[in-house]
């Protein structure tokens, strides 16, 4: 477990806390999901609710990757958030864990592709793209997307990417810009 050596206890606690904080904030968006799903179900487009909000749920991973800049931090960040969510009785039961790992690993791939060197627009965009690809592949099976009509598949894919790019890319960038300017990060990784 060589990768584990570079993690401090405070890093583990930090990404777990961020995962829980974000989860607590997202709980407040459940109503958006519920209303959209109820409204779109009669026309068979309920998946749009999921597609629109998915970027939000993938944020902890992308942020953890950005904040800690450690190998595996995006994956672990999202997995921890998913573990906590599962124990709090999320809607998706045990598949939350699988989704968590895949979402986190999807985000990680973006950082891997940019060699853990681009903590900027390039890294975040790459991460948004890889997260979209990995999670979409998973939903082809899990949510039966492979049986959908092609136009809908394309629509879902585009909406998902936009959500990923907006929440995981733009919003994450705005958040990390605030963090960079606040000078609080420097002091975190030297204890």
């Amino acid at each position: 477990m060589k990768w584990a050596k570079s993690w401090y206890l405070s890093d583990v606690i930090l990404i777990a806390l961020i995962g829980i904080f974000f989860g607590a904030i997202f709980m407040g968006t459940n109503y958006v999901y519920d209303v959209l799903t109820a409204a779109l179900a009669p026309v068979g487009l309920a998946g749009l609710a999921n597609e629109l909000l998915l970027g939000l749920w993938c944020m902890p991973g992308m942020l953890a990757g950005y904040l800690l800049r450690l190998k595996g931090s995006a994956t672990l960040g999202e997995l921890l958030a998913a573990t906590v969510e599962m124990f709090f009785g999320g809607q998706w039961g045990i598949s939350t864990l699988i989704s968590g790992v895949l979402q986190g690993f999807g985000s990680e791939l973006g950082y891997i592709a940019t060699r853990y060197k681009h903590y900027d627009w390039l890294g975040l965009t790459a991460s948004a793209i890889t997260t979209t690809l990995v999670t979409f592949a998973w939903d082809l099976a899990k949510n039966g997307y492979f049986k959908l009509q092609f136009w809908l598949l394309v629509l879902y894919f585009i909406v998902r990417f936009i959500s990923m790019f907006f929440f995981g890319g733009v919003l994450t960038k705005l958040i990390t810009d605030l963090l960079d300017r606040s000078h609080v990060l420097k002091s975190t990784h030297n204890n």
Binding site: W7, F21, A24, I25, L45, N50, T83, L178
Partner: protein
């Protein structure tokens, strides 16, 4: 049963039903899960709640396939509908009978997960009520300055991360003061056992699942 083995079995089941399209298998899993939960004294009210929680997304998936699917639309609609329930009920056999501490013990003792991961996550998890309160405080502080912090406001997340950084350092220091040393050996008061029995149940579970998928003629 050892929590880590139980989790492993459930993950195998969840993965497998994600790639199969057998309605009766999903239903059978839900029934098995209900029996298991019943034996562990789960209240009827909780079971009823588990039926309600996934209803909306289940209907959403159902109608999407029914209206915009291809091939055997009805079959796929019901596959997805029952699949969600299978996820939720099998998941509940874990979360309603096992707590996060037992899982952490098993991962630390049976799988040699570094203790900083097990206890770091536990420490954060035990702050959940404080975190929920803090989110309210952050939002209220924004309103008192005339600013509504919605789920798309960077400031909301920024504030949450600042608090997380602060708390993570406090907790790490407190744990160090309570004698915790990263990567150092510890003794274990609660013994997490991993018996041959656990492996047998895992094996039987996986075999049973394959029989359900490939052998039993469900249709």
């Amino acid at each position: 049963m050892n929590p880590s083995i139980k989790l492993l079995l459930l993950l195998v089941i969840a993965l497998e039903i994600s790639f199969t399209m057998i309605i009766s298998l999903n239903v059978a899993l839900v029934i098995l899960a209900i029996i298991y939960l019943g034996l562990h004294g789960t209240k009827l009210k909780t079971l009823a709640w588990l039926l309600v929680v996934p209803l909306l997304p289940a209907i959403g998936l159902w109608s999407t396939q029914y209206i915009n699917g291809s091939g055997d639309k009805t079959l796929m609609a019901w596959v997805l509908f029952t699949r969600i329930y299978a996820f939720v009920f099998t998941g509940a056999t874990f979360t309603l009978t096992t707590n996060i501490l037992q899982l952490a013990d098993a991962l630390e003792q049976n799988w040699h997960l570094p203790s900083k991961f097990a206890y770091g996550v536990l420490a954060a998890y035990n702050l959940v009520p404080k975190i929920q309160h803090e989110v309210k405080v952050i939002r209220a502080a924004g309103l008192m300055r005339g600013q509504q912090l919605s789920f798309w406001s960077p400031q909301l997340y920024f504030k949450a991360i600042l608090v997380s950084i602060n708390w993570s350092q406090n907790l790490a220091q407190a744990m160090a003061s309570h004698g915790f040393v990263e990567d150092a050996p510890r003794t274990h008061y609660r013994h997490s056992a991993l018996h041959a029995r656990d492996w047998i149940i895992l094996g039987l579970g996986i075999i049973g699942m394959q029989i359900g998928v490939f052998v039993i003629p469900w249709h």
